[in-house]
């Protein structure tokens, strides 16, 4: 009985149909690209690259979209967490230099893991301070939120310059993650495989937490109608802060991954990645984690295919994709039903 009720609800919200059309869109894009590229091994390489990029963008964007869904806060300062995470993570990895250069995969992964975890802890704490100090006074006012968080972004970027100096820092990948695996003509970069794996783990964990635990239930309920959740006696404010911290930590993780992917970090990287993050969040529908995942894969794949076929069009193609999707669904692929 309750099962059919849930499926009815899902159908009412258009979730299933939209999900299917989102997946279909990805498959269609991949097939179209296969026709365009013309060679199967190149296509597999490009698809892996696109998936890896999509996963990393998803890690960075998921926190932003959840924070928006729950608190109706659009945090332009999210990019600052990305940069901060990258700088902290890289500093840790630089301190663990011998581990990074070791020939053993396990030791390399341990170094990356240490960098990622410390980066996440620092950005999480920083997210807490940022939320209390900068974002909290402007809840409920979008205009001020955009202005304030933009100001926060500038200040954090400048503080990174103060601490780490104004130059870009090169960061070599760990020894065993350099290079690529080749099967015949198919080239699979090792680091991209790692990125896809990490992205899938994060997505699976997040889905599990959101759909299988009590906290996840509260978060989902809060996204739809936070007043109702509060009136049922749950501490929504504390939930908000926890989600903000988790979102900031994920941005930090994304920053570490992205830094290793680009092999160089600058204080400005958060800002430049934010453009892609915003596109992904808009395509997916603000507030929806699944939509964000679909959007990230679409943008990642699109970027890599187009970069191969017509190098100058890469970012333009993402914007075009966003325009087309907004024309088709003005609220994004998987819009969140608001009870407010």
């Amino acid at each position: 009985m309750s099962g059919s009720f849930e499926s009815l609800l899902a159908r009412l919200r258009g979730g299933d149909g939209a999900r299917r059309s989102g997946l279909l869109l990805i498959v269609a894009l991949m097939l179209l690209a296969l026709a365009g590229v013309g060679s199967l091994p190149t296509w597999i390489t490009l698809t892996l690259a696109g998936l890896a990029m999509g996963m990393m963008v998803f890690i960075m964007a998921s926190g932003l979209t959840l924070v928006f869904g729950l608190m109706d806060v659009l945090n332009f300062g999210h990019g600052a967490f990305i940069s901060l995470g990258a700088f902290v993570g890289v500093s840790v990895m630089a301190a663990l230099g011998p581990w990074m250069e070791s020939a053993s995969l396990a030791v390399n992964l341990a170094a990356v893991l240490a960098g990622a975890i410390i980066g996440m802890v620092v950005t999480g704490l920083f997210g807490y301070v940022f939320e209390r100090l900068v974002v909290m006074p402007v809840y409920g006012n979008h205009l001020k939120q955009i202005l304030i968080t933009m100001g926060g972004l500038i200040v954090v970027e400048q503080l990174i310059y103060v601490v780490w100096g104004p130059d870009a820092i090169p960061i070599p990948r760990p020894e065993t993650l350099k290079g690529a695996l080749t099967f015949g003509d198919v080239v699979l970069e090792k680091y991209r495989l790692l990125a896809v794996a990490v992205g899938l783990v994060i997505f699976a964990t997040m889905t599990a937490v959101l759909t299988r635990t009590k906290i996840g239930l509260l978060v989902r309920a809060g996204v739809e109608n936070s007043e109702m959740v509060e009136s049922l006696g749950y501490p929504v404010t504390r939930l908000f802060i926890a989600v903000f911290i988790a979102g900031s930590a994920l941005a930090g993780l994304g920053g570490v991954m992205w830094g290793l992917y680009e092999e160089v970090i600058t204080a400005h990287m958060g800002m430049s990645v934010m453009v892609m993050v915003f596109i992904v969040v808009i395509i997916g529908g603000l507030g929806s984690v699944e939509g964000c995942f679909l959007g990230a894969l679409l943008v990642g794949l699109m970027n890599n295919y187009v970069a191969y076929l017509a190098p100058k069009m890469a970012l333009g193609s993402s914007i075009l994709l966003m325009v087309v999707i907004l024309m088709w669904r003005p609220e994004g692929l998987l819009p969140v039903a608001k009870g407010r």
């Binding site: 659009l74 332009f76 900068v134 006074p137 402007v138 979008h142 205009l143 001020k144 955009i146 202005l147 304030i148 933009m150 100001g151 926060g152 500038i154 200040v155 400048q158 503080l159 310059y161 103060v162 601490v163 104004p166 800002m271 430049s272 934010m274 453009v275 915003f278 596109i279 969040v281 808009i282 603000l286 100058k312 970012l315 333009g316 993402s318 914007i319 966003m322 325009v323 907004l326 024309m327 003005p330 609220e331």
Partner: protein, 355 residues
């Protein structure tokens, strides 16, 4: 007469009137009061930024729309004039045609952005414009055979606007009346005209509807105003005026590049000027732009002094390094959004009228 000129929208505060008069007189007599090329350059930039910031205030302060693509329109105007002058050669025809094309394409782009993103949730607009702005900056650096890429374009102006041209043979009050001075007054006149035009616009029935949309969009729509149409028009007009400011920038600087017209820094600067001066009043643009351009030119000197004064302490010298001036303006920006949401103008009006 004054009433017509200022469209009935007076500063409404003794202090503010005094400050505005001071700025106006200083700009009007700049070449005679502060001889030298650097002060004149500062004065011209103040004029141009007043118009640019005022046009942005039309969006942010009057209509309540946050756009990050304003530099794109500014850049389109500047590049329109610059490309024409660089490729066709220094002539009035090239300058006017290029400038007009730049302004026109800026308005068309604004219309396109508005058509597909103002229709959806307002918060999308900020994100969409941010994406468009970065795409445009990349486009400009990639089309380097037309735009000069990262290096930008240098070009010469029509003969009447060059320093070699003499309008009057003798010096007037010890100042040479050359093409540079002529350019300055051309820029000043155009800026004053545009500013008064914008003032007229925001005090017209059209401007009132924009303010109504800012205050309560739903109610404005319920009263029968097509809010999307009004917002689209407002963003097209703002884009056109920004592009005109860009044309003037191109004429004044004799150089156009991504750093001076398109970079995110300029966008952030515009935001700072609007917020510090005061959103929702065009006089805020005058005060904000003047203070900011002065700070930009002279704050760094001050900070260099501070930095060397605290050179013994570990982190402090870095914190006060002249390159970190944006840090302090960022802090000022956050504080002013919190504590002075009406900006300097709001403050001055508050004390002046005893409220």
């Amino acid at each position: 007469m004054l009433n017509t000129l200022f469209s009935g929208d007076f500063p409404r505060s003794r202090w503010l009137t005094g400050l505005l008069l001071l700025i106006a007189v200083a700009l009007l007599l700049a070449p005679f009061l502060f001889p030298g090329s650097r002060p004149l350059d500062t004065a011209a930039k103040v004029c141009i930024f007043i118009v640019l910031v005022a046009s942005y205030d039309l969006l942010l302060g009057y209509t309540g729309v946050v756009s990050f693509a304003h530099t794109v329109f500014f850049g389109m105007g500047a590049y329109g004039a610059a490309i024409a002058l660089a490729k066709v050669g220094p002539g009035w025809g090239a300058l006017l045609t290029g400038g007009a094309l730049g302004v026109l394409s800026a308005m068309v782009l604004a219309l396109l952005i508005a058509l597909f993103s103002l229709r959806v949730r307002a918060i999308f607009f900020a994100m969409v414009t941010l994406a468009v702005a970065s795409a445009f900056a990349i486009l400009v650096s990639q089309l380097f055979h037309i735009t000069g890429g990262e290096d930008g374009l240098s070009y010469s102006l029509p003969r009447e606007l060059t320093p070699a041209f003499r309008l009057v043979q003798d010096k007037v009050f010890d100042v040479r009346i050359d093409g540079r001075l002529l350019t300055y007054y051309l820029v000043l006149t155009a800026c004053a005209g545009l500013f008064l035009g914008l003032l007229r616009l925001v005090n017209s029935p059209f401007g009132r509807v924009l303010q109504a949309i800012r205050e309560n969009e739903f109610r404005a729509e319920a009263l029968g105003y097509r809010t999307v149409l009004y917002r689209t028009l407002a963003s097209c007009i703002a884009a056109g005026v920004a592009a005109l400011a860009g044309v003037m920038m191109a004429v004044w600087a004799r150089y156009t590049g991504p750093e001076t017209t398109l970079s995110m820094d300029i966008m952030v600067n515009i935001l700072l000027m609007v917020v510090i001066g005061g959103m929702g009043t065009l006089y805020g643009a005058v005060v904000g732009a003047t203070l900011f351009v002065l700070a930009q030119n002279y704050l760094q000197t001050l900070m260099a002094g501070l930095s060397s004064a605290v050179s013994g302490v570990p982190v402090l010298p870095n914190l006060f390094a002249p390159d970190r001036w944006l840090l302090w303006l960022g802090v000022l920006f956050i504080l002013s959004v919190y504590f002075f949401p009406t900006g300097l103008v709001g403050r001055l009006r508050g004390t002046g009228s005893g409220r």
